[in-house]
């Protein structure tokens, strides 16, 4: 039965690990370093499997050091990870091209693990778990075969023996996983991607802030990522408004949130209570969302509530957070408005056309007037679109009279402005509309593309009433702009959801913000250091280059052990009065010697030397000493 060498099995497994590392990290490193390391890696495969050639180890070390220094020069404290990953990737590929001993394999594994953990900072998705599992299984097998290799480098086994070793030792990670999972639950965990202490390179999602420029929402809507997940019962789609901010002040093309304290102490909402647990992804804002109308948010620190049923914190929500929301499902907020001037304020440069248009909807019954405006926008000649949005100085004019196409921002703004012209207090609410209910985990997935603006109108004796003038989105629009959530992606998201709900330890955040503060403290002297670093590292490069050059020169001058032995031999022979000609072979020379005593004693040496010389075996230091001793025994007994 054919036998396979363990060394080859080990090589194949190691290269698989290297390959996986490339697959996993290629998105996070620059194309330059990726291609350099990939070329070296492919070269290494060629060397190990197709045609062997030997490369000077010192030269490789020299190249590796140059790369590290080059990358070191680019390091800033705000982004340590990318240069570190790049240098590790280059180092890994250089390690592959070396002639590999046991310790070289161990170094390969160590570098792989470092790259792997480093790359998790960029990606902490479900795919990570798949990569991780493959990595662990491969690593396990490789170390097992490395153990074999370390015991006997020439060992070879039958195919079925190798498969059995693979199959049986896979049990080790299989058992390790449950144990690790147990420990994982037992130890504190972070909402950060692992080891994300060095300043995140994650781009926080865009989101609602206290100033909403027209066009902001469409930017948000183009993002298909998830903004929050809501664990709650299934709710009628008509009520799926996730309240975020109310916007009161409009100037030109931008809405702003202004703090208006109500004098009415009896603001109330009535209706069915719905409780939700919301898992909010980090975004560049500080508002907390809840099903319209949220009355109470708990389980999160430093929450402030406004009279208009919006909630915010004083810090930017750059971490995953979890909070509980209690909402009352109603369209109406009962309030006696005392400061209506804010809600009637119009932009200074409001055009005559808008004023004239508004007057068309005047009605004694204010509610009827509001309905007319809503109907005009929603069911009239205006079309929903995310393309070619008006961007001129007077975007609302452009929308109402020229393009007649726009998204919720234009519809809601138009309605609010028209109503204000008519003397009806109104404001715009920003949040999210709708969401996909995942039956697998009983939760709503709300994505950035669900971002929405709607209008709240104040009617005397009733209060604030919600109106949504935006026409329902036509289905083509859906297909174009929104990635459909397939069943499979819902399934994957369920796992993400459980990761959020079960695994992230949200209380750890305080510790981490403390850590971040400490880090801030370290960050300050950054500029000075980086300037010095550049000078320092270039001088390091130059010094190292010189040292290595010197080293190589000395090394090349230094003769090999073979040459040195022959030299000693020649000198010895000359002393004994026999001279070996330059092109004379050792055997030939031996035949020539007449003195039997010398002949015998040299014979031993010649046989031993030829054993090395003709078999292309390298003479190392120990052999050299033996040869020297053999030669010193050659003498004429007088």
């Amino acid at each position: 039965m054919k036998k396979y060498s363990i060394e080859n099995v080990l090589k194949i497994l190691s290269y698989s690990i290297g390959f996986e590392i490339f697959l996993f990290s290629f998105r996070n490193v620059s194309i330059l370093y990726l291609s350099i390391s990939l070329i070296i890696f492919i070269f290494a495969i060629y060397k190990d499997f197709i045609k062997y050639f030997s490369i000077n180890r010192n030269l490789l070390n020299f190249i590796a050091i140059i790369f590290i220094v080059l990358i070191f020069m680019r390091i800033t404290l705000s982004d340590i990870i990318t240069p570190a990953l790049e240098s590790l990737l280059v180092l890994l590929s250089i390690k592959f091209i070396e002639d590999k001993e046991t310790r070289d394999y161990l170094q390969i594994f160590l570098i792989s693990i470092l790259i792997f953990t480093g790359a998790t900072i960029f990606s902490f998705e479900i795919s990570f778990i798949v990569y991780f599992l493959i990595f662990i299984f491969l690593l396990n097998l490789t170390i097992v075969f490395l153990t074999y290799f370390s015991q006997d480098k020439k060992l070879s086994l039958k195919f079925n023996e190798i498969t059995k070793i693979i199959y049986k030792t896979t049990l080790i990670p299989l058992i390790s996983f449950p144990v690790t999972v147990f420990l994982f639950f037992a130890l504190p965990r972070t909402p950060y991607p692992l080891f994300n202490f060095f300043g995140s390179t994650l781009t926080a999602r865009s989101g609602f802030t206290e100033n909403v420029k027209l066009g902001t929402v469409s930017d948000i809507q183009e993002d298909n990522s998830i903004i929050f997940r809501v664990s709650t019962e299934k709710i009628d789609d008509d009520y799926l408004y996730w309240r975020g901010i109310t916007l009161e002040y409009f100037e030109g093309n931008e809405w702003s949130d202004i703090d208006i304290t109500s004098n009415d102490k009896k603001i109330k909402v009535e209706g069915r209570i719905v409780n939700q647990t919301i898992y909010l992804e980090p975004y560049a804002g500080n508002y907390l969302f809840g099903l319209d109308k949220p009355v109470n948010i708990t389980n999160f620190r430093n929450i402030y509530k406004k009279d208009d049923f919006t909630f915010y914190t004083k810090e930017i929500l750059s971490n995953k957070i979890r909070y509980e929301v209690k909402s009352i499902m109603t369209d109406i907020i009962e309030e006696k408005l005392t400061q209506d001037k804010y809600y009637l304020e119009l932009p200074e440069n409001l055009s005559k056309e808008i004023r004239n248009l508004s007057l068309n909807f005047n009605d004694e019954n204010k509610l009827d007037a509001v309905r007319k405006v809503e109907n005009f926008l929603k069911n009239g000649e205006y079309k929903y679109s995310l393309k070619n949005l008006p961007t001129s100085k007077n975007p609302i004019d452009e929308f109402l009279f020229k393009t007649k196409e726009g998204n919720c921002e234009y519809f809601a703004t138009s309605m609010a402005i028209i109503l204000r012209v008519l003397g009806i207090p109104s404001r715009v609410v920003a949040g999210y509309r709708g969401g996909v209910y995942n039956d697998l985990g009983n939760y709503y997935i709300v994505r950035q593309s669900d971002a929405h603006l709607w209008v709240e109108v104040y009617i005397d004796n009733i209060g604030w009433i919600r109106f949504d003038p935006t026409p329902s989105i036509p289905s083509e629009e859906l297909i174009l702009n929104r990635k459909k959530l397939t069943k499979f992606s819902l399934f994957l998201d369920t796992i993400n959801y459980y990761y959020n709900t079960l695994i992230i330890n949200y209380d750890l955040e305080k510790q981490i913000s403390l850590f971040n503060k400490i880090r801030e403290g370290f960050k300050k002297p950054e500029i000075k250091i980086s300037v010095n670093l550049k000078k320092l590292s270039s001088s390091i490069i130059i010094t190292f280059s010189f040292i290595f050059l010197l080293f190589f020169i000395i090394k090349s001058k230094k003769r090999s052990y073979e040459e040195r032995i022959l030299n000693i031999f020649n000198k010895k022979m000359e002393k004994l009065g026999i001279k070996k000609k330059k092109n004379e072979g050792l055997e030939e020379f031996l035949q020539k010697i007449e003195n039997q005593e010398i002949k015998e004693s040299i014979k031993n040496f010649v046989i031993k030397f030829e054993e090395f010389y003709y078999k292309d075996k390298k003479i190392n230091k120990e052999d050299y000493i033996i040869f020297k001793k053999l030669l010193s025994e050659v003498r004429i007994s007088s």
């Binding site: 396990n140 170390i143 097992v144 490395l146 153990t147 074999y148 370390s150 015991q151 006997d152 060992l155 086994l157 023996e161 059995k164 070793i165 049986k168 030792t169 049990l171 080790i172 058992i175 390790s176 144990v179």
Partner: protein
Amino acid sequence: MAISGFFGRFNITRIKCNVEFPNEIYANNDFPISINLNNEKPSYPVFLIKIKIYNKLILFPFFEKEDKKLVNINIPKRGKYVLDKIEISSPFPFNFFVRYYVFKKNIEFIVFPEPKRGFMEYLFDRKSKKGEFEINTKKGYEGEMISIKDYILGTPLKYIDWKSTAKTGILKIKELSSFIDRPIIIDFDSIFIKNLEEKISLVTFFILDSIKRNIPVGLKINKKIFKPEMSLIHKINLLTELALYEKV
């Protein structure tokens, strides 16, 4: 780490180790010991076991139920030996730890003296310089044909050489040599060779060589007398006696 430790431990437990020695072991000569490992774990194979015996390491890379390996051992001096322990170790699975375990054994074996050629040369040194045995001419019925002679009454029919009978017209028979030579008894104590070990080695070779040549050999040693014989047991007995010989 803990789990790898557990696997390493599990790997070397429930293994039985049997050692077999050859019948004849001679000092300063390599002899093979067969090491037999049996895995008593019902469904898990054994990985990467190393057995240490007389400072020799034998690697068992992988086996399921049993594996057998031979290892050449060399013991320089004759005498009685006891194999009291066999060390079994394994770096499996990750080479983080090397697990080991010692089998307590009590295997006695005797190492016969190192045979050295030259006893005959020594003995015949003064008589003839040939240093070779004379051709064995003892008559018998099993060996090769020595000569042809006239028929003697009573000789069995199968010894009649029909070819020469036909040639000469007189009944001729074959005369064969005998396989069995004259028996020899070595009087160990009266042989004068100064170096005892040298003497024992020379005698050992002589005994082995004689038996190979079908010469029954006996030995007179330590006031014991072994009558000349050629059986295997006899040979073992003689060599054992020499192996354990100590000058009184």
